[in-house]
Symmetry: C2
Subunit: 320 residues, 2 copies
């Protein structure tokens, strides 16, 4: 009997659910509006109905091995979502326990960046690597560290918060975490937008981005402008890459990975971000690590990438 | 038959060698002047003679389980010492292989900070911990990370270079590695001396340290002055602690350890460094980690600490 897993990615607005086989084929998937459900119990009830519908839609008979969930502030050890700023449900939510009242299969939960790292390990270009890092450049900056072949959860299950290491402690940008100068306020899809707005305010430099309302500027629009040769947009990429490259050099000094994968919205701007980040990373690298670490673009992009990452949690546990 | 290991710590000037049992008792030890030997082969020959002498001096019959070596720029995977700035012997030295021509027992090598972390794990207060960090504040700043119960060597065997993460990229102090603004140029026994000299040059503030020749100032003298209430010496500790605390908050965000141990020369100033570092660490900590991580003083201090760390390499490998 063919073995399958369920991958669920919980987002602030939207959550995606899919059925995935061992080879990383998303057999079918659907989505559900997270924000529509007042309680996690009601949300999971709807998820369960959707999963059962998806399971019935598969023609061949399959064995469900487990459920993997990627969620903001997801705690692997406790199976909880704790104080997630993007979700309606406040406090500590016993998410895995709620799921278990619907399905009698092993259920695992971690944060979305850790899930992305496992996706890279199980289905992606990190297959066979023992030491690598995945950096997700989305609304924030998430990271998943694999060391000695295992995902790093840390003592309390919350390791991997590279986005909240501090770049500018005193005068830095205000971060959603309440502190100042966190890496993710500079190096993320929203961070580069803040950079563009700052650059426009600080100078009179001409830019096609000036014709767009500030609140409508996105990292995608900045990338498109940069590709058309817009100097200000290119400066924003350079500034982002400089900070990211410097921090990745620090990551290398601490963990000495084989590769670092960039993933998520801003990473989709491809060489615009990858190339200068690599250059700055090498510039700031401790000599002993120079030209040793690959900086790669994750190939697990697209709408089903988050489902893949979450489902990888299952294979990573069950095949061990 | 009682099992014993040999622990060797290679220093730029002096190297120490000891026989250690499983419980961390240093049965006997001796030292040898590293700088006196033109080649690593001649040095190891002398080490071997010394080890044989030490072995013969033990009254009861013991079984030698293995040799552990802590060395600057020591590579665990390859058993090499690579481009160590403090040693006379240049390039890549096949140190374990040279040792193996003298002793037919398992021989392991890593850098001194990693050895300190293993010492803490096998004999110290980290016994039973799965996730912790040891930070050595000596001439430089070394670090050993234990994650999921294993020392982090990284892909190439050189992980744990926290001392070479960058604090001030452009205007920072020149580091021995050739770059600017590395953490160890601020937070180490030599770093705090540089801070005191800078503070004295920048102001006319009175200080008992002004009566000492610049090249004679040590972290120990600064600590003694601080304890006597010298304001400038206390400012130097505060400045050091602020930078260290901030960087340790970053370490926590990435690895989420149960505890961080401070070890080495500057750590011997006890609460003078520990207390403000803890305060700054908590100040700069991501809320989710606040008041969770212990900052402790390593109890494996003293002349035999380095021998213990190196010998722990043996028990860590052999008992696995």
């Amino acid at each position: 009997m063919k073995e399958i897993s369920i991958g669920i990615d919980i987002g602030g607005t939207n959550s995606v659910i899919g059925i995935v086989d061992k080879h990383g084929t998303v057999i079918c998937h659907d989505s559900i509006l997270t924000a529509n459900y007042k309680t996690p119990e009601l949300f999971v009830e709807e998820c369960a109905a959707l999963i059962n519908k998806l399971l019935k839609s598969i023609p061949e008979q399959c064995g469900l091995v487990g459920i993997g969930i990627g969620a903001p502030n997801g705690n692997y050890y406790k199976g909880t979502i704790e104080f997630a700023p993007n979700l309606k449900w406040k406090g500590i939510i016993e998410f895995v326990n709620i799921f278990k009242s619907h399905f009698d299969v092993p259920t695992f939960l971690t944060n979305d960046a850790n899930a992305a790292a496992l996706g890279e390990l199980i289905y992606g270009d990190a297959k066979g690597m023992k030491d690598f890092v995945v950096v997700t450049l989305g609304t924030g900056l998430g990271s998943g560290f694999v060391i000695n072949g295992n995902l790093v959860y840390g003592h309390d299950g919350f390791a991997g918060e590279l986005g909240h290491t501090i770049v500018f402690p005193e005068k830095g940008r205000l971060c959603g975490c309440g502190r100042k100068g966190c890496l993710e306020t500079y190096c993320s899809a929203t961070g580069i937008v803040r950079t563009v707005i700052e650059l426009m305010e600080e100078s009179d430099e001409d830019s096609e981005l000036r014709s767009i309302k500030k609140e409508k500027i996105t990292s995608k629009l900045i990338a498109e402008a940069a590709l058309r040769g817009d100097a200000l947009a290119n400066s924003a990429f350079d500034y982002t890459a400089k900070i990211l490259g410097m921090k990745l050099a620090d990551v290398v000094a601490i963990t000495s990975p084989e590769a670092i994968f960039l993933f998520g919205g801003l990473a989709q701007s491809g060489d615009l971000i990858l190339k200068p980040t690599k250059e700055y990373m090498e510039k700031y690298m401790l000599p002993i690590f120079k030209n040793k670490v690959k900086l790669l673009h994750s190939k697990l992009e697209g709408t089903t990438a988050a489902i893949l990452g979450a489902s990888a949690l299952v294979w990573n546990e069950v095949s061990c």
